[in-house]
């Protein structure tokens, strides 16, 4: 590959969805043997661009040039044949199939049947030092291993260009390091790699070149030596405060005491396994861990959504376990669910209606069985300005708002009544940097008002930034509760279930005072 002919060139790619221009004349060049990072916020248009490249979307304008030849991709099959492979953010694996069957699918003849696919899996595994059983079923494998199957799938088609779409979102820090080593090995073998991410740390660690896109447009190239602050301000378009501003915690005596909490799923697995912890008023306990290690079930159990739970959840002397969701809410628990669109909001309802969703009984919004629209609308207007919700009016359907504004509606509702406990699950997932700053400041304000706060997050940066203490969950259990200044390496090991020697733990009072 000569440098005059980059392996892959995207020229003037434009993709519109109705009135929205997701990609606006984007140019991108990727050469063989380099890792090209595509950096941008959530919603900047990175995934759209890659779906155009992969043939899943058809571009409205522009062309894709591979090794000097203009390509026409009618579907992913064409892109694959041209040598473009993709490791998808949401794995494109069939859970009930084996590894070999997933690799075989779509290429049955080329691979020579299941036997050939098994052989291919073994061969590629050996090349990269994976230990993957070709006959293991995908749904039985941890996500980190599933991702390797995705990589094997792409490599089995001899991909010249390999796209990694937000590949680290589901990985522990150690798994992320391993993935980066794999990417470097691929690069050194001459593969052109496109690495899509919004995580600055990863970009700086691995990129040979960086292209930053914002609101569907390329804003420029950045040097891999740029500082995180420089990259962040390029990505967001203004100077950004990357650290969360907060004072040392001032503890109060109201608190949550969870003891020996165990939650079973439908087939009797302990998705939460004998968990005990305490949160005091005025502190943030962050629950860290890779997605799917029981965090969701733990927060749902606190809210009364898990019926097969045993143990005790004591909030200021009031036992919550066994109470209905209504009773838990009445006890003063505010809850930001993991998936705001599914569990947090009714998309077709207006902002005003969503803001009173959990207060449909009695004062202040309901009088004599009918909704007091004046009271509701006053409340909504007040929250609209207090939480800086960008919408045309309080009548706007919530489903039409951006992710950041939707999350502000959820926060405004949950923080809009007197609270005894605040639980936020993945509060900034999928939000832009501006909204993340706002959500973080609201969480800290809640803590400073003397309310116990639990934040569940899979983003280590967020955990470290917000927490007064950190509980790490792994396979349903708490590996340990440690001070907020614990090193990322230690946290990473704990997220994989290990307890490093000499681990400092943070018991409720000491840790919080430190």
């Amino acid at each position: 590959m000569t440098l005059e002919h980059p392996t892959l060139a995207l020229r003037g790619i434009t993709k519109r969805f109705g009135a929205l221009t997701a990609n606006d004349h984007i140019d991108l060049e990727v050469r063989a043997g380099e890792i090209h990072c595509l950096l941008g916020e959530n919603g900047a248009g990175k995934s759209t661009l890659m779906n155009v490249l992969y043939g899943l979307y058809q571009a409205d304008e522009g062309e894709i040039v591979l090794d000097g030849e203009v390509q026409r991709f009618a579907g992913p099959g064409d892109a694959m044949r041209a040598g473009i492979g993709m490791v998808h953010q949401h794995f494109m694996l069939i859970p009930v199939f084996t590894v070999a069957e997933n690799v075989l699918l779509g290429h049955e003849r080329a691979l020579g049947g299941l036997g050939g696919a098994r052989e291919k899996v073994r061969e590629i595994s050996q090349r990269f030092g994976f230990h993957i059983d070709p006959d293991a079923r995908i749904e039985d494998l941890p996500v980190g291993v599933q991702q390797r199957v995705e990589i094997i799938k792409a490599l089995s088609q001899d991909a010249k260009v390999l796209v990694f779409d937000e590949p680290t979102a589901v990985l522990t820090p150690q798994e992320t390091d391993e993935l980066m080593a794999i990417m470097q090995q691929l690069r050194d073998e001459g593969t052109a790699i496109v690495f899509i991410t919004h995580k600055l740390r990863e970009v700086r660690a691995i990129a040979d070149r960086i292209t930053v896109i914002r609101l569907g447009k390329v804003v420029g190239e950045a040097s891999p030596d740029s500082s995180s602050t420089e990259l962040a301000s390029m990505m967001v378009g203004r100077p950004v405060e990357l650290t969360v501003q907060k004072q040392p915690p001032v503890l109060t005596d109201n608190r949550l005491q969870v003891s020996n909490l165990t939650v079973l799923d439908a087939i009797g697995q302990k998705v939460v396994n004998d968990v005990s912890f305490t949160v005091q008023g005025g502190e943030v306990l962050c629950i860290a861990g890779v997605q799917g290690n029981g965090q969701t079930e733990l927060t749902e159990a606190i809210l009364g959504l898990q019926h097969r739970a045993t143990g005790s959840i004591d909030l200021n002397g009031n036992e919550l376990l066994g109470d209905s969701v209504r009773e838990v809410l009445d006890a003063g628990v505010g809850f930001v669910p993991e998936d705001r669109k599914v569990d947090g909001l009714v998309g077709e309802y207006s902002i005003a209606e969503n803001l009173m969703l959990d207060r449909y009984r009695g004062e202040p919004f309901v009088r004599g069985g009918t909704i007091d629209r004046a009271a509701r609308d006053d409340f909504a207007r007040e929250k609209l300005s207090a939480f800086d919700i960008r919408a045309q009016s309080i009548e706007t359907p919530v489903g039409t708002l951006s992710g950041g504004n939707q999350q502000k509606v959820v926060l405004a509702r949950e923080l809009g009544r007197p609270l005894a406990l605040f639980v936020a699950s993945q509060p900034t997932r999928g939000l832009d940097v501006g909204s993340i700053e706002f959500v973080h400041s609201q969480i800290i304000a809640t803590r400073d008002a003397g309310i116990p706060v639990i934040v569940v997050s899979t983003e280590l940066d967020e955990v470290v930034g917000l927490a007064d203490r950190i509980a790490v969950m792994y396979r349903g259990g708490i590996v340990g509760i440690v001070p907020a200044d614990t090193s990322r390496d230690t946290l990473g090991l704990m997220m994989a279930g290990e307890r490093p020697a000499g681990l400092r733990t943070a018991d409720p009072v000491k840790g919080a005072a430190a």
């Binding site: 992913p76 998808h88 994989a496």
Partner: protein
């Protein structure tokens, strides 16, 4: 705690994700057994009948004649109830000590219960067991073909409520075309084509226009019932010649037909039944061992993943739903060209829905679905046989039997079967 157990979990070792399990005891099975044992006790002992039931196990032409089994009703009842009670106790013990017993227990329990019931109902008369088995196979054939159509369609991601319409359309077309052309084979082909047509309507609405598949299926069932009723009364009643097809000849297979008990039931059948013996294993092999099956299952589980490897999801769905129709059409042809000999109004009588139940009960697996269909066929055959010998149970009550068994079977096992993940969900491309 978890932390101490796991020392070196991350890294390159492959491990399957297994959480610690709590002991959850499911008392559903033993309680069901206890209830059934109680029913048996009341029926066979408390309300026991005197006299003996003669179970005729032989039929003419066997290699050797198995002698009739003469069972005294009351004594047999006592023995059966004792055995059932023992099995129930075993089941309770297994749950209490968290042991797995395997599939033999429900089967043995069921066989014993049926034997007890037969001797009770047949006290003082003779029950032709060989005939009962023959009827079982006969009544199961359309169910099995229907179930295969359901398995294929749902595995490809399209819910097939329209099995009833496919059977009925096939039955009608098969009768008319075979009568008009004088060729039963042409009739069979026409039945398959008619059924494919019904499937294609389902496929177009479900795949192209994203209409809710259950609704399309139900509407098709009503539509085909209405259409065939109309054509039957306006066309066939005035032209009986159009509704008198030649029947497919029975083709006994030498030697095999003389196997005692099973020979006549299995090997003295028409070409359609023999085709079934080939089609069911063929579908099972094809689904799990061929490229076609791999792709078919992929589009029913995760169509987007299939799309990303270059599979044309909707096109493949369309043709597999059409294929499902062709298979179900054979079941339709069986009604008019084999078992009955002419078309009558709504002659499928809801069997399409029972076939659907067999699909679910059979966990979307061709062989298991066939076994489920045979169970439902047996229940219907039992009802017919007992009606013929004059059982003490009112025949109207006995008519419920197949459906009660279907209901119990589906309700009891439905939690354990998992549908193809994308079944019923249209695949919409941006």
């Amino acid at each position: 705690m978890t932390a101490q157990q796991t020392t070196s979990a991350h890294g390159t070792t492959v491990e399957t994700v297994e959480l610690e399990r709590a002991v959850v005891k499911h008392w559903k099975a033993p309680i069901s057994y206890a209830v059934l044992t109680l029913v048996a006790l009341v029926l066979l002992v408390v309300l026991g009948r005197d006299g003996s039931a003669t179970l005729r196990l032989a039929s003419g032409g066997d290699f050797f004649a198995i002698p009739d089994a003469v069972l005294p009703a009351r004594a047999t009842g006592v023995v059966v109830v004792v055995l059932l009670a023992a099995l129930t106790a075993l089941s309770f013990w297994a749950v209490a000590t968290v042991r797995r017993l395997g599939a033999w227990l429900p089967i043995v329990f069921g066989v014993l219960f049926v034997v007890g019931f037969l001797t009770w109902a047949g006290a003082g008369s003779m029950i032709p067991i060989a005939g009962l088995l023959f009827a079982t196979v006969g009544l199961s054939v359309p169910l099995i073909f229907g179930a295969m159509g359901g398995v294929l369609s749902e595995r490809a991601g399209v819910v097939n409520i329209a099995i009833e319409a496919q059977l009925l359309g096939g039955a009608f077309t098969g009768a008319v075309v075979a009568s008009a052309t004088g060729s039963t084979i042409v009739g069979v082909v026409a039945a398959m084509l008619a059924s494919v047509l019904v499937s294609m309507v389902l496929a177009v609405f479900a795949i192209r226009y994203f209409v809710e598949q259950v609704i399309v299926g139900v509407v098709l069932n009503v539509l085909v019932a209405g259409l065939t009723n109309f054509l039957y009364s306006s066309l066939l009643t005035d032209n009986p010649a159009l509704n008198s097809p030649a029947r497919l000849p029975k083709l006994p297979i030498p030697v095999l037909e003389s196997i005692p008990l099973l020979g006549p039931a299995l090997f003295k059948q028409s070409i359609i039944v023999y085709a079934m013996y080939i089609i069911v294993p063929l579908i099972a092999w094809g689904l799990f061992k061929t490229t076609w099956g791999l792709r078919l299952r992929a589009i029913g589980e995760h169509p987007l993943a299939a799309d990303t490897v270059g599979i044309k999801v909707n096109r493949l769905r369309f043709w597999n739903v059409a294929l499902a129709g062709a298979v179900a059409g054979l079941g339709g042809a069986y009604f008019t060209l084999d078992s009955n000999g002419s078309f009558t109004r709504e002659m499928t009588a809801g069997l399409g829905y029972i076939a659907l139940a067999a699909v679910i009960f059979g966990q979307w697996h061709p062989v298991k679905a066939t076994a489920a269909a045979l169970l439902f066929g047996f229940a219907s055959a039992l009802q017919q046989t007992l009606g013929a010998i004059g059982s003490p149970v009112p025949s109207e009550f006995m008519l419920m039997l197949p459906y009660v068994i279907t209901l119990l079977a589906v309700a009891g096992f439905i939690g354990q079967s998992r549908a193809p993940a994308a079944s019923g969900k249209p695949y919409v491309k941006q």
